[in-house]
């Protein structure tokens, strides 16, 4: 399945409208390398090899953060990204990400950005956000609240995997052989939380548990939870935002722990990006977000398969 001519035209209009919006907001649009030595280190992201010790980027985040550390206050990139072994109704192995950073801004500013951008995209597609049930403000909730409401699990973020596994089983979730904290978490999330989010209106899910911190900083008042939100709308996971971690010591610890997990699971282990760690010393308090551009077009057009917004589904 590939995009219809009308869908491709809408995609082009949405892209221009999104660019214009960032320009009005005073962002510098940049381009960063697609072929890198250190792609995303996350345990569940696999990069596509690009020869000579290089990989295709899974996200432009490391380079964009280095630009923020160099003193740019607001940067955005509409970046092509690649991820190995990802193909489904919401996933294409090669896709487009809109990623932007704001210095000295709280996470809430990025949530407001998302509300504005979605309205911009829907209008560019010739539709009305209110008629689609996508008018701002979107709902705001927390991971902890969703787990309590839809799974009856009191998530603390500090429980060990065994305790979480017991809670999941008691809630009637079939966790199979899952033993890692994040695997149990996501089994509950997919079985119980995502179906509820899919039928709810657009929702920001704030405050993620520390084991899923990735590149987010801990909340100052509660280090078991981190400053992160995900935006769900129209059954799509649309964006992920972090209050960026600026502590190079903690960041190194997380990279090393992720690399150890990757090695233990027999996955490719990527070199730690020392230039990023060095730059973190100069990074001001920053909020950053990645939004799937293909999914934004899907939302604006009301389609359910990513192939319907891509000119070519298979390379």
């Amino acid at each position: 399945m590939a995009a219809s001519p009308a869908a491709l035209e809408a995609r082009g209009r949405i892209r221009r409208a999104v660019r214009a919006w960032f320009e009005r907001e005073g962002f510098l649009e940049v381009e960063t390398p697609s072929r890198v030595r250190s792609p995303g280190q996350e345990v569940h992201l696999d990069a596509v090899p690009a020869g000579d010790g290089h990989w295709l980027v899974t996200s432009p985040e490391y380079h964009l953060k280095r630009l923020m550390a160099a003193g740019f206050p607001r940067v955005v990139e509409i970046a092509r990204c690649w991820r190995a072994n990802e193909s489904g109704p919401h996933h294409a192995g090669e896709f487009t990400m809109v990623e932007w950073y704001r210095a000295n801004a709280p996470l809430e500013t990025l949530a407001a950005d998302c509300e504005a951008l979605i309205a911009v995209a829907i209008r560019a597609a010739g539709r009305d956000p209110a008629a689609l049930g996508l008018a701002a403000p979107f709902a705001r909730t927390t991971v902890r609240d969703l787990f309590a409401r839809h799974a009856g699990i009191d998530l603390t973020g500090g429980e060990d995997p065994t305790t979480l596994a017991q809670a999941a089983r008691a809630a009637g979730v079939a966790i199979g052989s899952a033993a890692a904290w994040d695997d149990i978490f996501y089994q509950v999330f997919l079985d119980r939380i995502e179906p509820a989010l899919a039928t709810a209106g657009p929702t920001f899910v704030f405050d993620w548990p520390a084991p899923l911190a990735a590149l987010a900083r801990p909340k100052p008042d509660d280090p078991l939870w981190v400053e992160r939100f995900e935006l769900y709308a129209g059954g799509l996971e649309l964006a992920n935002a972090f209050g960026e971690l600026t502590d190079p010591v903690e960041q190194r610890r997380r990279f090393e722990s992720e690399a150890a997990v990757r090695a233990a699971r027999g996955k490719d282990v990527y070199p730690i990006d020392e230039r990023l760690l060095a730059a973190l010393h100069h990074l001001p308090p920053t909020a950053g977000i990645a939004l799937g551009f293909d999914r934004l077009v899907m939302l604006a057009l009301g389609v359910s398969d990513i192939g319907e917004v891509l000119a070519f589904r298979d390379a």
């Binding site: 996350e42 569940h44 072994n85 990802e86 193909s87 489904g88 109704p89 919401h90 996933h91 079939a174 199979g176 052989s177 899952a178 994040d182 695997d183 978490f185 996501y186 089994q187 999330f189 997919l190 079985d191 995502e194 899923l212 990735a214 995900e230 996971e237 992920n240």
Partner: protein
């Protein structure tokens, strides 16, 4: 053992002690989590449909199920006897496994039999059969006010309601799922 990368339509796996066949599947991956395969499966014993999110790498036990085409030979006191059309092996299957649909199972008909762990658990008849009417009351007037049908018997002994113009020797088409007359297809 299978794993999630083996999932495809028609794959037969064991889940919670029952055999299932995969009906639909889809790649899903929450933000920072592992990949899952959202899998819709049909229980081969009950027909119930179930959806499970199977985490990438999860091991799946193959279900020992097999469908064989067999020919119905005859019935005795408590079983029906079928013959494998390729090996000529005969099997006795309890009448209770075949159930009420045996009323539409004439001798020599080919059926699909599902074996689970070597035991027959389900017998599927073709959706339609064509059978000769063996008994009909020629003087039956019917109740013309309420649909103008009359009961006739086919060779299996089943009684079917048919239009009044059907007579002994006619061949009629019957839906085995509902037991309903569909049309007259000719004379034997």
């Amino acid at each position: 053992m299978y794993d999630t990368s083996d999932i495809r339509k028609g794959l037969k796996i064991m889940l919670d002690g029952s055999p299932y066949t995969v009906v639909e599947f889809q790649f899903v991956k929450p933000g920072k989590g592992a990949a899952f395969t959202r899998t819709k499966m049909k229980n081969l014993l009950t027909g119930a449909v179930l959806e499970r999110n199977l985490r990438s790498g999860e091991r799946l036990e193959p279900a020992d199920v097999e469908t064989k085409t067999m020919q119905y030979l005859y019935g005795d006191a408590d079983s029906f006897i079928f013959m494998d059309t390729t090996t000529y092996d005969q099997v006795h299957i309890p009448k209770s496994t075949v159930g009420d649909q045996s009323a539409f199972m004439p001798e020599n008909i080919n059926v699909e039999i599902l074996f689970f762990n070597g035991r027959a658990v389900d017998v599927s008849l073709p959706n339609f059969i064509e059978q000769k009417v063996v008994e009909a009351d020629p003087g039956f007037r019917g109740d013309t006010a309420t649909g103008a049908t009359k009961p006739v018997k086919i060779s299996t002994g089943a009684s079917i309601n048919v239009p009044l113009f059907i007579s002994i020797g006619d061949v009629i088409k019957i839906d085995t799922r509902s037991g309903q007359y569909l049309e007259r297809v000719g004379r034997a």
